[in-house]
Symmetry: C2
């Protein structure tokens, strides 16, 4: 049987899997990216994980799809990734092809995710939609006229670096007030720390260090009525919805699909995001743009890179 090797490199975790032509995941593995160590170190650990999967199957890998942060789809390089300490430019496509000896397609992780939603997920049947991946950072992928938008330099869809406040928070990218410094797991955590400084209320979150705090802990606290966690979610949702209204004013999408760690908060996030987006929408768009939470699980996040590989194999490019 023919399978695609799908690799989803994240700022924190890397997921990899074997996916057949119908999108079924035959095997998958997760390991820590260790983005503070050299790229060569990452490649070796990736090889070991892939070996473990291929040793357990008779299926033949016919192509590889890789999603990673800040990938330029034209050059095949990871360029200026603020969440990976692997240098200014990393030759991702060439390194993977050389290491595994199979035809490889690479894309910005969120672009791959958008393609995954188009081929296997909530975007099936839609022609125009936007995917926002709310993880360590905020990534995005844009589908227009049924195709992934690449842009003129291979860099379309960096909505995480839309500035929502010129005097706002420092971003790893060097700018200030980027959307991802507010609306991502890290952004939410920064807001929790701001709220802990500003408010006097007790909170279970006061016992957790910045380094240790997770999005799940904040969501759990919010669901139990923790005021600081609730305020932090409300702030993230308000800013995200406001910014999404600006995205709609560019692209007029049928839907905006939220995915990634923060989206697991479900209606805790999506309901106030919808309210904020509608409030800030230019009148003609009102009540026309869906806000959806992706039903992809950790496991199925490798559908994005898998869609890249299978699309590439089928289109012969």
């Amino acid at each position: 049987m023919e399978i695609a090797l799908a690799i989803d490199i994240g700022g924190t975790l890397t997921k990899t899997g074997l996916v057949d032509g119908s999108g079924e995941i035959l095997d998958k593995r997760v390991f820590s990216t260790e983005a503070d160590k050299p790229f060569e170190h990452f490649l070796e650990r990736l090889s070991a994980e892939v070996d473990r999967m291929t040793d357990a199957t008779d299926a033949e890998i016919v192509g590889i799809g890789v999603g990673a942060p800040n990938v330029n789809a034209i050059s095949g390089m990871i360029e200026h990734a603020p969440n990976l300490d692997w240098g200014e430019k990393v030759p991702l496509l060439d390194s993977i092809e050389e290491r595994f000896g199979k035809k490889t397609w690479v894309a910005n992780d969120a672009n791959a995710t958008a393609l995954g939603e188009l081929v296997y997920g909530l975007g099936q049947g839609m022609k125009n939609f936007v995917v926002l991946t709310l993880g360590t950072g905020l990534g995005s992928g844009i589908i227009v006229n049924g195709q992934l938008l690449i842009g003129s330099h291979g860099l379309a869809g960096e909505i995480g670096h839309v500035s929502i406040d010129p005097d706002g928070r420092q971003c790893k990218c060097g700018l200030r007030g980027c959307l991802e410094t507010y609306a991502s797991v890290t952004g939410l955590k920064r807001t929790v720390f701001e709220m802990m400084a500003e408010m006097k209320d007790d909170s279970v979150l006061r016992g957790i260090s910045f380094m240790d705090m997770t999005g799940e802990q904040i969501a759990e606290a919010a669901l139990k009525g923790d005021l600081i966690a609730l305020k932090a979610f409300a702030d993230a949702a308000d800013r995200l919805g406001d910014s999404m209204a600006n995205t709609v004013a560019h692209l007029d999408p049928e839907a905006i699909i939220l995915t990634g760690g923060l989206s697991k908060a479900g209606s805790l996030l999506a309901d106030p995001v919808r309210v904020s987006m509608e409030k800030h929408l230019f009148t003609p768009y009102r009540n026309r743009v869906k806000v959806l939470i992706s039903n992809s699980s950790d496991l199925s996040s490798i559908h994005g890179p898998a869609a890249l590989a299978w699309n590439g194999l089928r289109n012969g490019n």
Copy 2:
């Protein structure tokens, strides 16, 4: 000879012309839109102008292209246009086809302008670019993969209603802080009045009422070193450049083309816009996106609607 009738409806002026298949303008007329009177009144005056042009030629009109504010390309209606007092929904396509008895294509004015730049202007040979029309309002048209972006509801490209300040100026659309309340002829004028309130400097502009003041007068004053006019231009350019960086973070265009009344200020606007955009760009985009001033004149602004008609006729849709 076969010609297209091109109609460009603006908040202040309407331009109409006869354009052949190669883009040559055989005749053209300009008249005041009188957007405060009923749409029926406009249609009658339009008919009279068109009659005067067709009486003077043997050429046969084979199709009509119309650009107008807030046109929905799918419904063919003008919807919620803040600068036209013609009601919530105006059946533009049906009215024009019925009145003139020729196959008609309609688009948002700025979308039509973008198509004009693609077919006859600076966008020739480009696959991805954005046109911003800086007139009474701020319109936009987006070209992706060599095609006009329509969006899922016929409403893509309303960058004038991107909010750049949640507590900012009131916009005719009902929102606050829309880009067009700062970066358009009207926006520039509003800034001049803010500066006249804030600053104590003399200015030739202090002798002109809000109603009478034109963009040309402000540009002329700025070129003579008028401090208030210069400050107003600097403010508009700074905000526009900042917002353009956010547009780039969505679309990764090859160029952003500025056109419309305010763009006639040329380098007075374009130079500080470039500086501001570069300052706010996410690193990977720096020094890669061109900011161009359209070389279209008043006369050639009807190239947009003409491109609509000829594209429609050639593609048979």
